[in-house]
Symmetry: D2
Subunit: 298 residues, 4 copies
C-alpha cells in the first residue's frame, strides 16, 4: 500500500513515521520543504500509483477546504481522499460533494491519541462507503493500536460519521477532564486533610472506578509540577466541544456536563467577567453591598 499524506505537522509527521514502521509506503507533502518528501502536489500525485489514496492531515476549516478543492482539480476519477483532520462532520458532506463531482471518492477519519499515537497507535473512527474503507484497511491497521481491531477502529457509518463520532468523543473528553479537574480542586483545597494530592491521584490508578488514561496523564503532570505552580488556569478549545453542544441543541439532547466544561474554558480565558460585573452592580444596587472597584486605568 502506498499512501499520499498532506500535512506534516506534529500529528502528520508522527503518523508518517508510524505508517512507515508498519510497512506502508508514504509520500508526504507539506508546504514546509524541510519536512516534505515532494516539491508540490503535482509531484505527490505523480509519486502515487492509481487509483491514488491521499490522506489530508491539515487544520480544519479554511485550510482543509482549500486542500480539498485543490485535490478535486488535481486528482483523477477513482482516486480517494481521506480527511483525517478535525473537520466538523457537516463539512464532510460538502467535501464529499466537491470530490464526487470529479468522480473522486471520500472517507472521513476521526483520529484520537495526540502525541502518544505514534508509539501506541491512534484510535480511529471512519465514515464512508464499505469498499473505500476496505481498500484503506492496511492503512487503518497500521495506524491503530495493537490488539483486537474492533477495540481501536470502527467503521461508524456513511461519510461524516467518522467525524461525528470523533466530535462526540471530544465532547466526552472535555467533560472527563473537567470532572478530574473539579476533583483536583476539591482535594487541593483541603490541605488540612489531604497531605499529598499527587499521591492521591496516583493511588487511583489501580482498582478504582475512576481509573483511566486521562488519570494517568494527570498523575504524570502532577509528578512534574506537584502544586501546578508552573501553569496558568487558562484553557483554549479547538472547536469539537462547541460543535458537540451545538449538535446537542440541534437534536434536543441535554448535555449539562459537556456544556459546563466548555463554559469553564471560556471563563478561564477572561481577565474579568462582564457577566459578573453585572451581578456585582446589581448586588450593589439593591443591597448596598460594596463592590470591588476596577483598578484605575483598566
Amino acid at each position: 500500500m502506498h499512501l499520499g499524506l498532506i500535512g506534516l505537522g506534529k500529528m502528520g509527521a508522527n503518523m508518517r513515521a508510524r505508517l512507515r514502521e508498519h510497512g506502508i509506503d508514504v509520500t508526504g507533502y507539506d508546504r514546509n520543504p524541510a519536512v516534505s518528501d515532494v516539491a508540490d502536489l503535482a509531484a505527490l500525485k505523480a509519486a502515487l500509483p492509481a487509483p491514488r489514496a491521499v490522506w489530508v492531515m491539515v487544520p480544519a476549516g479554511e485550510i482543509t477546504d482549500s486542500v480539498v478543492t485543490e485535490l478535486a482539480d488535481l486528482l483523477d476519477e477513482g482516486d480517494l481522499v481521506i480527511d483525517g483532520g478535525n473537520s466538523r462532520f457537516t463539512e464532510d458532506f460538502a467535501h464529499a460533494e466537491v470530490l464526487a463531482a470529479r468522480g473522486i471518492r471520500f472517507v472521513d477519519a476521526g483520529v484520537s491519541g495526540g502525541v502518544w499515537g505514534e508509539e501506541f497507535g491512534y484510535g480511529l473512527m471512519v465514515g464512508g462507503a464499505d469498499d473505500d474503507i476496505a481498500e484503506l484497511m492496511p492503512v487503518f491497521d497500521a495506524l491503530r493500536p495493537e490488539g483486537p481491531r474492533e477495540e481501536g477502529f470502527v467503521h461508524v457509518g456513511p461519510v461524516g460519521a467518522g467525524h461525528y463520532a470523533k466530535m462526540v468523543h471530544n465532547g466526552i473528553e472535555y467533560a472527563l477532564m473537567q470532572a478530574y479537574a473539579e476533583g483536583y480542586e476539591l482535594l487541593a483545597k483541603r490541605t488540612d486533610l489531604i497531605s499529598d494530592v499527587p499521591a492521591t491521584f496516583k493511588a487511583w490508578q489501580r482498582g478504582t472506578v475512576v481509573r483511566s488514561w486521562l488519570l494517568e496523564l494527570l498523575v504524570d503532570a502532577l509528578e512534574k509540577d506537584p502544586q501546578m505552580d508552573d501553569i496558568e488556569g487558562y484553557v483554549e478549545d479547538s472547536g469539537e466541544g462547541r460543535w458537540t453542544v451545538e449538535e446537542a441543541i440541534a437534536n434536543a439532547v441535554p448535555v449539562p456536563t459537556i456544556s459546563a466544561s466548555i463554559f469553564a474554558r471560556f471563563v478561564s480565558r477572561q481577565d474579568d467577567s462582564p457577566a459578573m460585573r453585572a451581578v456585582a452592580a446589581l448586588r450593589n444596587e439593591f443591597g448596598g453591598h460594596s463592590v470591588k472597584k476596577a483598578p484605575a486605568g483598566e
Copy 2:
C-alpha cells in the same frame, strides 16, 4: 405597639425609622452607643411593656446565636423573640427550643427589600404560631409595602418556614441576577450589532416578558456606569444561595440554574482556577497543547 429592636446596622436602623413613621414605638439597642436608644439589654427589657416583643436584626450565625442565648436568660416567660436576620431555617429550630425552655415564644421573619425597604416597605415571610403572628401584625403591617397585605406579607407556616421561604427567595434571586448578567455579556459582546447596551436594557422595562425590579436596578446601574468600567467582576455571597443548593440536594430537587449562579460567584473570586490549571495540564499531556506559564513569583 412597642417593639424592642436589637441590631441597628444599615437594615436595623432603616427598619426602626420605617416602624416609627408607621406608628410603632421602637426601642432600639446596638453595641454601638452612638446609634443605640438604650445602654444595654437590661435597659431594653426595662423599656418594654410585658409581654415583650423583641426583634433581633443582627448577622446570622454566631452573633444571632449569642443574642438569642442572652435573651433566653434575660427575658420573661411569655415574651416573644423575632429573628428578622438572614438565619438559616435550621437554626430557627434550635433557637425556638432554647427560648421555649424558658417559656419564651419565637417567630422567624424573612425580610427582603434591601436598602430600598425603608422607603418602599419590606417583603415579609414569617414562620411561627398563629397567635404569635397575630400579635405582631401591627409590626408586620408597618414594615410591609403599601397595597394588599397578601402581596407583601405571608405567614408561611410553623417556626422555620419564614426563613425557608426567604432562603428560596434568595436562591431564585441569585439565578435571576445571573440570567440578566449572561444576557448583558451577550449584548456587550456584539458591539457590531448592539450600539447601546444600556438603552437596550432600558427598553425592556415596559411590555416585555423580562421586566422586573432587578431589571430596573440594572438599568440604574448602567446609567451610572454604562460600560461597567468602574466595577470588578467579583461577587460575594451571603449564604442563602449555598443553603438553597444544600436543601435542594437534601431533598433531591434539581436546581441547575441556582447552582450555576453560586458557582459563577465562586469562580469570580478566584485569581486563577486550580481546576482549570489541571485541565490545562491535561491538555498539555495528551496533545502537546501549549500552556500559559504562570508568571514568575506567582
Copy 3:
C-alpha cells in the same frame, strides 16, 4: 400612516387591533380569508400608498423566507418590509440582501409581550437604518406600551440587531422562568414547612427582590391551579433559547443558566432518558446496583 400587515394569527390579529385603536390604518392579509382584509398580496399592495410599509408577522423560518421572497418580487423600489416575527438575526442579513437587490428596504423588529401586548403594548427592539426607523415611528409608538418611549422601544442598531436583542431577551426569559420554577419545586417539596405555596409566591409581589412580571404570571397560574395538578411538566421551546446558546458558544460567552434552562426543557420532553439508561447500566456493571427493568413491550 397606513401599514400593510401579513399574518393575522394570534399575534398579528392582536397587533392589528392595537394599531387601529391607536390611529394607524392597517390592511391585513392572511391566507385564511376569514380574517384577511384583502384577497391576496397583490390586493394588499394595491391598498397601500407608496412608498409602502409592510409588516410581516408569520412563523420564522421557511414561511418568513417565502413571504420575503414573494415581497421582493411584488413590491416596488423604495418600499419597506418589517419582519416582526421571531426570525433568527442571521436570517435578517439574507432577507435584507434579497430585498435590497430590488431596492426594497428592510427593518427587523423583535416584539415581546405575548397575548398581553394588545392591551398593554409590546416591548419593541428594532434594527435598521435611521431613516427607515424614523419613518416607522408612528407604528412603533402605537404598538409600544404607554410611558416613556425609551422604556418600551429601542433602536438597537443595524439590520439584525433587533432580532439579536430579542433573542437575548428570550434567552434571559428562559433562565428567569427556570429560576422561579426551581424555587417552586423547593417550596412545594417541604409541605411540612410551607403550608401554602401559592400564598408565598403571592406575597413576593411587593417589596421583594424577586418581584417581576413573570412572578405575577406565576401567581395567576397558581390561583387557577394551586397544586399544578392540571398541567404536565412538558415544555416546548420555540428556538430563541437554542440560538442564544449557539451565539454564546460562537462568541465564547459562558451561559450556564440559559443553557441549563433549555436542557431542562429537553429533558421534560423525554419519556425516558437514553443518557440516564447508560448511567444506570454503568452503575449496574461496577457496583451490582440493581436497575429498573423497562416494562415489557416498551
Copy 4:
C-alpha cells in the same frame, strides 16, 4: 495478621474472601448467621488476638454509628477500628472521638472497586495515624490490586482523609459516568449516521483519549443490551455525590459537572417535574402556549 470483619454483605463477603486468599486470617461477623463466622460481637472479640483490629463494613449512617458505639463499649484499650464503609468524612471525626474516649484507635478507609474488587483488588484511600496505618499494611496489601503499592493505595492524611478522598473519587465518578452517558445519547440520536453505537464505544478502548475502565464497563453493558432496551433511565445515588457538592459549596469550589451529574439523577427519578410544570404554566400565561394536560386521575 488476624482481622475481625463486621458486615458480610456483598462487599464484606468479597473482601473476606480476598483477604483469606492473600493470607490474612479473618473472623467475620454478620447479623445473618448463615454467613457469619461467629455468633455475636463478643465471640468476635474473643476470637481476635489483642490488640485487636476490627474492620467495619456496614451501611453508612445509623448502622455504622451503632456498630461503632457497640465497639466502643466492647473493645479494649489499644484495639483498632477501621471503617471501610461509605461514611461521610465528617462522621469519622465523631467516631474517632467516641472510640478515643475508651483508648481505642480509629482508621478510616475509602474502598473503591465494587463487585470487581474481589478478583482485581480494591483501590484504597486511608486516613489515620502513621503507626496505625503501618500496623494495618498487611491487610491493605492483601486488599489492594497487584502492582506498585502507590498505584492502588494511599495514606491520604489524618482521620477523615480517607473518606474525604473517597467522596471526591465518587464525585468525579458521577461526572465521568454522566459524560459518557451524554455521549451515548448523542450517538444514539443520529441513527442516520451512527450505524452501530456499541461498536463505536468498543472502538474507543484503545488509542483514544477517553479510554477508561468505565468505558470498558459501558462496552460490556452494550454487548448485553445493545439498544439499552431492558433498562430504565432511573438512577439512584448513594450519598457521596451529594456530599461532594456540599463540600464544594462549603469550600467555595465550583463543581459544575459534578452537580449536573447529581441533578440528572434526581430528574431521572421524577415521574413528572414540579419545576417544569411551573415553566409550562408560565409559558401558557404569557404566550398562550398550549400545555399538556395531566392525565385525569393523576
